[in-house]
Symmetry: C2
Subunit: 135 residues, 2 copies
């Protein structure tokens, strides 16, 4: 099948398929006489693997490692688990960070009348003036 169909069935855009090939994440496929890329079921399987890993937030780098481990029949699951748990930790750190932002913003928004007066605790906070009434 052509790159377009491979894209459809894998969920990876044609652009990205070419990009993944260019950076060596996936192997260059066979070509037709007219230089079109040709994909088979195995290649699509790889693309689906990549898609799923990226969807779960693994970086391309991590995906590359996972792909190597997947294709290595003798690999140990320990390494895979390490990558996954490391990624979980990173995600949780990011989540905590975002939650901190949300908490602060909600507090500020709650203090803000949101009316037509020029008074605004949100801007006051951004400007560095302490928000009084720490409700």
């Amino acid at each position: 099948m052509n790159i377009g169909e491979a894209s459809n069935v894998s969920g990876v855009s044609a652009k990205m398929i070419r990009y993944y090939e260019s950076i060596g994440l996936i192997r260059p496929p066979l070509r037709t006489d007219s230089n079109y890329r040709v994909y088979g079921d195995d290649e699509v399987h790889v693309l689906r693997f990549v898609k799923r890993a990226r969807t779960l937030g693994f970086s391309v780098e991590e995906t590359s490692t996972l792909l190597g481990l997947w294709q290595d029949k003798s690999r140990a699951s320990a390494e895979v688990k390490d990558i996954a748990t490391g990624h979980i930790t990173a995600l949780e750190t990011k989540i905590a960070e975002l939650q901190g932002m949300v908490k602060t913003l909600k507090h500020l928004a709650h203090c803000c009348g949101g009316d037509n007066r020029p008074d605004c605790p949100i801007l006051d906070d951004l400007a560095g003036e302490p928000t009084p009434k720490g409700h």
Copy 2:
């Protein structure tokens, strides 16, 4: 003061100060005869505002709008609140997304022995094979 000191007291790197100036987020400051940028308290106040907004996850674009509203003495707080609450929503969406990833990964990691056997539910999932024993 020079850009280095302005950077120290505002927490914005010199690189970023120049960048913010180049994209028009902040105004070009005065220059000495030898072409050094000169910052005063007002400029530092702006830099702090920008720093705080960025820390709270506002994009440069949003920060620019907030900065305009801050400097507009007659602004209404309604617009500020809209931007803030919109940002909160975006953050919460992002958080939910990350939490979904974490949930899936934790499930997979839980099912994974992490031992030296080549068996690995994490890879199986990535490969598209259903994880059995949906424990």
